[in-house]
Amino acid sequence: MVKNSVRNVVEVRDLVVRRGRVRAVDGLSCSIAPGVVTGLLGPSGCGKSTLIRAVVGVQVLTSGTVEVLGLPAGDRRLRHRVGYVTQAPSVYDDLTVAENLRFFGRVLGVPADETERCLEAVDLAAVRDRVVDRLSGGQRSRVSLAVALLGSPELLVLDEPTVGLDPVLRRDLWAMFHALADAGAAVLVSSHVMDEAQRCDRLLLMRDGRLLASDTPGDLLARTGTRDVEAAFLAIVEHAQEPKEVTA
């Protein structure tokens, strides 16, 4: 039975965001379902981060709407329910790992053992008392990720969370994203690395502020007759550039 009744967690309609003179997002509509990991893929500068900021509700929109869990993105009622990891780790460099988590935990009003759970989830329990300044880049981004996990948000939005990480750790993180999705959360992960696509349940391909495709990896490859997502991406771009009468 096809379940069309599952309510999407995110609904983006005709979104336009102008940043300076550039249309960073240019008339984009998409939706994100609960219980799956959605990959937002596209080259650097294609507008991924702007779209993500719009979903989280920290971006000034030019036009269009973004709805999250049935509410306008950024609504105060969503502030407990959405976890967000920015590209640069947004944690306090001069506090220890545990202090960072405790602080954000108190802001969110989650119980103290929740910080412990999130530390374990990103495998940082061993360095809990180290000052963030002294950690490696990968460890710092995991501290930032742990903060986003506090309170088990219904929507988890991650902007390039796996850049520069050890392959073993990357695999473990993707496993964790899927575990979170299996538990019912919607997970949106952006990446400019196309081979991360195969780890996603659904893909949103973006280029120049527009959506190229919204599909499962399997259907995308089948539809374009390609073997990997990079080739599928090229096929779609080239197809779009061909003159209309030839493609018709």
Binding site: R19, V56, H80, Y92, L95, E99, F103, R106, V147
Partner: protein, 255 residues
């Protein structure tokens, strides 16, 4: 705003300061060293010069916490803005008031210790003449420190780098020091400058501090002259205005 979050922010700022031992030591020791230097210049050699330490000590007790907290706050909040932690906090259930009041509480607490040490040194060791109650000097100093914090929070919105933030000192703080009555009595200034000095917050801060110390400073409510309470009320008004302006610069959504 919620007390839980406000206190969490204040506690976090204090933890960060505690970790930065050198800054903390400088915050507490440097004001005392500067005041001791002033005393040495004017009073140590016997006959006090030009009114001496009794005339210049109180204005400095007002200036130092203001300047120090202005600098510390503008740099710390700029860091918070540029590191993305402010955006993260504001995407959480944090109110703008939580951030502002949390910072004001934390730096107010540091200023209390800083001012108590400086006042104790001036009064008990360097022999500053204080006709009003000594605790009132600490109260005024803390109000000045929070004034510096409020102004620092506000200007950090207009700086992109820490270099720029520090440059707000000559832009906003030094003119106030020149016009606050330390170098020239305010009523002896050219009319226009006197009028300007009459509306600058630091002028009221210095007047309040001098008012407690000079003769007659002990006659009024709680042993404090009425004019001092008036000046203090104006300083507190500027603090509130500064925090409101600061709140306007905290944006949940940015372009």
């Amino acid at each position: 705003m919620s007390p839980r979050i406000t206190l969490a922010v204040a506690a976090r700022v204090l933890t960060q300061l505690r970790r930065d031992r050198r800054t903390l030591a400088m915050l507490l020791v440097l004001p005392c060293l500067v005041l001791a230097l002033l005393w040495w210049m004017f009073d140590a050699g016997g006959a006090p010069l030009a009114g001496g330490f009794d005339a210049l000590g109180p204005p400095l007790l007002a200036l130092i916490p203001f300047i120090v907290m202005f600098l510390v706050t503008s740099v710390t909040t700029l860091r918070e803005r540029s590191s993305g932690t402010l955006e993260r906090l504001l995407a959480m259930p944090t109110g703008k008031g939580d951030v502002l009041v949390g910072y004001a509480l934390a730096f107010g607490a540091v200023a209390t210790v800083q001012s108590a040490l400086a006042v104790l040194l001036c009064w008990a060791v360097l022999g500053l003449d204080v006709s009003g109650p000594v605790w009132m000097l600490v109260v005024v100093a803390v109000a000045d420190a929070v004034l510096g914090t409020a102004l620092g929070l506000f200007v950090s919105a207009f700086a992109r780098t820490e270099f720029q933030a520090v440059q707000f000192m000559p832009a906003l703080v030094i003119p106030q020091i020149l016009l606050c009555g330390l170098f020239l009595p305010r009523d002896a200034m050219p009319g226009v400058l006197e009028a300007i000095s009459d509306v600058l917050p630091l002028s009221f801060a210095v007047d309040a501090m001098s008012g407690v110390s000079k003769a007659g400073g002990g006659a009024g409510l709680g042993g404090v002259a009425g004019s001092v309470w008036g000046d203090l009320a104006v300083v507190v008004g500027f603090v509130l205005a500064g925090l409101l302006l600061g709140a306007a610069t905290l944006r949940r959504r940015t372009a």
